[in-house]
Symmetry: C2
Subunit: 249 residues, 2 copies
Amino acid sequence: MAEIQSLAKGLKILNLLEHSRNGMGTTEVATQLEIDKSSASRLLHTLAKYGFVEQDQLTARYLLGPQLVTLGQHLLNRITLRDHARPYLHELVDKTGECAHLAILAQRQALYIDQVESTAALRVESEIGTLSPLYCTALGKILLAFGDSRIPDELTPFTHRTVTDRSTLEAQLAQTSKRGYAIDDEEYNYGVRCVAAPVYDHKSALVGAIGISGPAGRVTLERIDEFGSVVVSIAAALSARLGYDFNLR
Amino acid sequence: MAEIQSLAKGLKILNLLEHSRNGMGTTEVATQLEIDKSSASRLLHTLAKYGFVEQDQLTARYLLGPQLVTLGQHLLNRITLRDHARPYLHELVDKTGECAHLAILAQRQALYIDQVESTAALRVESEIGTLSPLYCTALGKILLAFGDSRIPDELTPFTHRTVTDRSTLEAQLAQTSKRGYAIDDEEYNYGVRCVAAPVYDHKSALVGAIGISGPAGRVTLERIDEFGSVVVSIAAALSARLGYDFNLR
DNA sequence: ACGTTTGTTGCATATTATGCAACTTTAGTT
DNA sequence: AACTAAAGTTGCATAATATGCAACAAACGT
């Protein structure tokens, strides 16, 4: 179906603004979208009118607006999985000492919807709301292996360990579904290993993935299986909490 | 300036979806916006293409999409005030035993950007991301009294204590700026009293408000001044943290 | 004070969003 | 299972509107 172009342009502006650190001016937006600055000006005014962008008082540059917080938070609150998963994420942190994450599938990527940090003192940059590729993160591999997503056409490498070969990845996914947990061995971020397992709902449908991530020095390959079984058992407990019936499998 | 109408329609759809519990269908959206269902269909498809709405797999109804979480959370993370204020909110909770909130001005309303709950057990519905009126909440009154917003034309009552008279409100705001804290005496929610104080940045400009809210039974009128001075002193400490120089006042 | 860059407005034109109608699909009812 | 009703999508002609241009205004830096 043909898209409504002026709406699409407005949405593209929002995406542009996400990736700009200090906002953007009218001309800058116009250049990026390859439209006239008059059009950019009018689109920005419309977005501002509804609170989706906001002008910095000082620099007059456009920033993402409060309405996005309102709508985004509203949606997060509706995602009940998040509420149910909270205590299990804490349990994961308690048992492994590493950071715990919860992700769901969105836009063919892994959307992080909650996070519990290991040490409150050492605050990691919050990753809630970020999208990550499916093929090189543990949470993503779970969504690939147990869900019905396809492997993307392009396997862009992030580190030298990122699996860029399709058949290698397929073999990994087969192994993942067999043993029940997925591993990210410094495939997305250097020095970070992750382990994840699937979460099912009452209808035995995959709803998300939970997992842990930590420095490769602590999450060693020798202890991976150990971490794996912890993650799997807690993911299973969460699934049971959601009404998942193990007898149905 | 004239708004781009098709973009505006798309944004209106997002606002509509926020207030629907179980999503909306194409026809329903069309009816609400008073446009043809073919237009609604095309707008929804465009929104979906960019992840701003999502179709429920089961019911085929449209819901707010993950892109809003991504953008909203992204913005929240950028609001550094929130990070700085965290420990002060906890301090407020420790000293008063009530819930603490942080709000900024957005869209001529008070946007709650963080919250620390008093008792972890008794979880209050999360209010982060919600917009509240300025004229009948403590946080809002601070933004009115110390900021440069105008009193809205319509003072819609929420309880029988809501101040709907313009001059009465002006007198309250004058009193507020004199004593340094604002009170909401069951003016927005029955049984809830709130106390709030202003937060300034390094340039002595108002950046937000912090405050506490609790049941009228605990936050009694006799103890209001006591709560007020606690809130004021912590708000001042936070302002100092942000580089606010008291000698400049 | 100057030129330079950025943002806004008026207007004619061409693009595009729109409503209508026909059609397809899904859900509900007898 | 057959039928009816409602919801959603697509093609198409037309009307609406978004667009670029140009001129203008404002802010910035030299």
